[in-house]
Symmetry: C2
Subunit: 132 residues, 2 copies
Amino acid sequence: MAVQRRNTHQRQLVLDAVIARSDHPTAEEIYHDVRAHDEKISRGTVYRNLNLLEEAGAIRSVHVPGGNRFDRRIEDHAHVTCLICGSVQDAPLAYDDAVDARAAAETGYDVESHSTVFYGICPACQRKQQTT
Amino acid sequence: MAVQRRNTHQRQLVLDAVIARSDHPTAEEIYHDVRAHDEKISRGTVYRNLNLLEEAGAIRSVHVPGGNRFDRRIEDHAHVTCLICGSVQDAPLAYDDAVDARAAAETGYDVESHSTVFYGICPACQRKQQTT
DNA sequence: GTGTTTGCAAACTTTTTGCAAACAC
DNA sequence: GTGTTTGCAAAAAGTTTGCAAACAC
């Protein structure tokens, strides 16, 4: 059975902070944003709630070089990340359920989903490289 | 200009340790394996060389929940990871270059490659769940 | 000989955790 | 009232770094 969850002020603030951003923030960035609304909330509470909200399916996280990023979009979708500055954005890519079954059949894993990350250089970092 | 690289005993040991494993080891596991051959090598040296070898293209790393894993296979390919124990394995999935161009066109990023990770439950963890 | 690399240890970053008080239901 | 959640602070985990000695070329 799932653990019972209570609706606390702090949990709502963390969820709101993730929803307010479209740029896939880090835990530290969420902590910073939440502190702007509540000077007393602690880092531990932010981390605990990010993990609980992810478990509950209210938010998701993206694993990229440089750490974990949180995502308000909970449907399956791809991302692109910058190899220089680490920025993360949504990327268009049709989600193909069929490949999950194929991967399951060939690996023996009970596959639930998949995630694709594109690696490249973001527009801002491209401009900086040209200046070099 | 790329930094000049010297062929040290320690660097070779780290590379050999990655090549010797097919299970996508963590940095700590590589450190442990290398220590079996050289009691004096330090953690710092292992981390430095893993990063240098990855930069040089001799090995790759996979970013999954739970941390970074190293991979002796340097060609593009997919992975499957266990949501319970964190194990990582190669997964069969045709690598499609065309999607990189599409992602680049729609995001403005200069996309170099992509990586797909399947999430699921590995055979061993499936068996443990049945016992519950 | 020159410049890179190593071992060591300390520092840093990020995340988790124990506990008593505060809070949601 | 009962059991969850919070803030705090410490600890844990993972990785990086400064430096003098050692080493590769």
